[in-house]
Symmetry: C2
Subunit: 87 residues, 2 copies
């Protein structure tokens, strides 16, 4: 029997208290397109991966470690993880 | 009465057929951490914004236009949009 595969998706976002100049630039671009009803644009990172793990908890642990130690800067960024069994 | 506010989240990912060297680099980093059970790491962009719109459909239209014309490169990237009424 093969080990189950899980799909993990991690979203890393700047904390609300941190200025986001890239988001401001995109917001200006959207306004220039004529959509002045758009505001609070913020840019983050999206990371997806496949994890071979015996169960959901083990897969979540790997994704969380990767996010904490490699993908997110804990001083400036928050992260959100979703792990689902691959169909 | 004020116009309703919608939260839009847009995820932009490289098409499957496009090589993702940044994802490969992150995958190597995760392997170096000892998690060799991780593969197919791919990196994308996450964009969130607030849209003032009379209804959900109007908010989705704005988010889709921004994604198509500004945020995603239609040759290399796909995008996925979620729009929710702000609570």
């Amino acid at each position: 029997m093969s080990v189950p595969v899980y799909n993990a998706r991690i979203i890393v976002t700047l904390r609300k208290s941190i200025l986001d100049p890239q988001g401001k630039a995109v917001e200006l671009g959207i306004h220039t397109m004529g959509y002045t009803n758009v505001e609070q644009v913020r840019i983050g990172k999206f990371i997806e991966m496949q994890i071979d793990a015996p169960n959901q908890g083990a897969a979540e642990k790997v994704a969380r470690e990767a996010a904490q130690k490699l993908l997110a800067n804990p001083v400036m960024e928050d992260f959100h993880i979703v792990v689902e069994k691959a169909s």
